[in-house]
């Protein structure tokens, strides 16, 4: 893949880049001094305000997928890319309105706490620990691909080397700073990302007399009105519904989003922080409309595809085109730093889950030592890196927002049904929750594997497709709900048959039984 459309490797870019990396490391060092206990490591000592947490949430979410993937998809496919932009926001209001308060009241650190608060701890922690270990590498893959392409573009490095480098740097963050580093680093990154997006936005519309519509007009002038209409991506209503369900509900099933609720002092702050995040993300996504079409008009579809067939590098090429190497270095560094922070946050979520849920909850029944838990968290981080890097190298050609959509489908099938039922249905039993969680994860992966997404796009064998939809949500999400409900009924029926005089009670005697 060539660097078509970009200036060759130059000093300005690298210096700007280097400055940001230095800044990031300074923040991590600052956080290092503040990390003492497990509480500090895992939940920022609960000292973060709603506004700050809102920014961190937004920063968490707006990673490679948003800035690189959405703009890239729009620059290649026009309107179809906007579908992902819209889908990126819709889960948040549902989260704040229906999920935030109930969840806040029930749990402490993790998704597993919430789901298992009325049920048996160990099986649920085990199940959620397993699905987290599946979800996080999937999410990571998209981020690593984005970061890898970025490094290749700016430094001329080989894709694979770039991907490995990113992973190594991220491991350093988590090892030394924990949640505080990632929360504060997320906030700084969110602000920088918003600034970078704003700069790009202004530079694009400046070409059209500061009229945002100008970008759309220029794109349709160059490629015809068809770019402003839906294309072939959503080929049927089933495909559309499937993607819609995955995007909306997947957000709620993401462990690292859940975890951010518990870094603020009270329910009101949790609610407000999700609202703030919604505003920032919403504005950012609206900006991607203009950036995407701006890229189409200014850079052109061919140049984007030539640099990277997935479109992942579109934003950077745009930056270079409208702002030279300074903009490229700035946007590149901000994007890279954002990805880094997100990746750190994700692996921390997984490390926490393994240490808190599996190691402490399941294996040691609540008695694991603090240092032991932190050690387990770190080992998990390392292992996840290796898996994610390997898969990222394999899936390099895919657009990152598309991959993120698949990850969301997994979260929507595995975690979302159990979470919703745990919050609102007294009838959920331990077996119901566990089977739903595991079934959801496995079913989604199996369906993805049999879909055109893998068989056609990656394995190049379209004759092996046995599941017609590229997104499995339409099937896997309801199926997961069904499994939870049916298994719960069965368990209740079995329990009632065992002791017909016992009062049915959602709270089991042995909390760690």
């Amino acid at each position: 893949m060539s660097n078509a459309g970009l200036e060759p490797l130059n000093t300005t870019t690298i210096i700007v880049f280097g400055l940001f990396m230095a800044l990031t490391l300074l923040i991590t060092l600052w956080a290092m001094r503040r990390t003492r206990t497990k509480e500090d490591f895992f939940a920022a000592g609960r000292s973060v305000t709603a506004g700050q947490n809102g920014l961190a949430l937004a920063g968490d979410f707006m990673g490679a997928a948003t800035l690189l993937g959405v703009v890239g998809l729009v620059s290649l496919r026009g309107f179809d890319g906007l579908i992902y932009a819209v889908g990126g926001l819709v889960g948040w209001p549902i989260l704040v309105m229906l999920i935030a308060d109930p969840m806040r009241r029930l749990g402490h650190f993790t998704l597993a706490d919430v789901v298992s608060s009325h049920l048996k701890q160990r099986p649920i922690r085990l199940a959620i620990g397993i699905t987290t270990l599946v979800l996080v590498p999937c999410y990571l893959i998209a981020q690593l691909i984005g970061a890898g392409g970025l490094i290749r573009l700016i430094f001329g490095l080989n894709d694979d080397v770039a991907i490995v480098t990113v992973a190594a740097i991220m491991v350093v963050y988590v090892f030394f700073g924990g949640m505080i580093a990632t929360t504060w680093v997320q906030i700084v990154k969110a602000v920088m990302l918003l600034i970078a997006g704003a700069c790009l936005f202004v530079l694009v519309i400046a070409r059209y007399g500061f009229n945002p519509i100008g970008a759309f007009q220029a794109a349709s002038a160059r490629y015809g009105d068809a770019v402003l209409a839906p294309g072939a991506m959503i080929s049927s209503p089933w495909e559309g519904l499937s993607l819609a369900m995955g995007l909306m509900f997947g957000l709620i099933g993401l462990p690292h989003v859940v975890m951010r609720f518990f870094t603020v002092p009270d329910a009101r702050a949790a609610r407000n922080s999700v609202f703030y995040a919604t505003i920032w993300i919403g504005l950012f996504l609206l900006a991607t409309f203009v950036l995407g079409y701006g890229t189409l008009a200014i850079v052109g579809r061919e140049a984007v595809a030539k640099a990277d067939p997935s479109g992942n590098m579109a934003t950077l090429i745009l930056a270079s085109e409208i702002g030279g190497s300074l903009m490229l270095g700035f946007v590149g560094a901000v994007t890279f730093a954002t990805i880094l922070a997100l990746v750190a946050g994700l692996t921390l979520s997984a490390g926490t889950s393994v240490a808190h849920d599996l190691w402490n909850g399941v294996i040691h029944r609540g008695n694991a030592s603090e240092s032991g838990q932190i050690a387990v968290a770190r080992i998990t981080v390392l292992a996840l890196c290796v898996v994610a890097v390997t898969l990222a190298i394999t899936l390099r050609q895919q657009n990152v927002i598309f991959l993120t959509g698949l990850t969301f489908a997994i979260a929507a099938s595995a975690n979302f049904p159990a979470l919703v039922l745990a919050l609102f249905w007294r009838g959920l039993t331990t077996a119901g929750a566990v089977s739903s969680i595991l079934f959801g994860a496995v079913a989604t992966l199996v369906l993805i594997y049999g879909s055109p997404s893998i068989q056609t796009d990656v394995l190049k064998s379209p004759e092996d497709v046995w599941f017609p939809l590229r997104n499995p949500g339409l099937v896997s999400i309801p199926a997961s709900f069904l499994v939870a409900i049916v298994v719960s009924w069965c368990q209740r029926a079995w329990e009632n048959a065992q002791s017909p005089n016992a009062i049915p009670n959602a709270v089991d005697d042995a909390k760690y039984g």
């Binding site: 309105m97 229906l98 009241r105 519509i213 402003l228 609610r271 407000n272 609202f275 919604t278 505003i279």
Partner: protein, 81 residues
């Protein structure tokens, strides 16, 4: 992390505002997706130079999300004090 489980806390029911706004968003979003799948030519209709119906609807869904969140949070905060 508590070791003694208190009596089961009452499960919290969402308020009618929350349910109404959530329903609005679900309808708007899924409706939009169905239009994208089934009514491509209509969404491609140009309202003004450079603006298609689809573009307006996409932006509208995003704005609905922001407004709905705002309304909800203001109302809830007023209640809780």
């Amino acid at each position: 992390m508590q070791n003694d489980q208190p009596p089961a806390t009452p499960l919290v029911a969402p308020t009618w505002v929350a349910l109404l706004l959530s329903l609005a968003i679900v309808v708007a979003y899924f409706g939009f997706m169905l239009l994208v799948a089934l009514a491509k030519p209509s969404l491609g209709m140009m309202i003004a130079p450079g603006i298609s119906l689809g573009l307006i609807l996409a932006a509208a869904v995003l704005l609905l999300c922001i407004v709905a969140s705002f309304v909800f949070v203001v109302m809830e905060n007023r209640k809780a004090g």
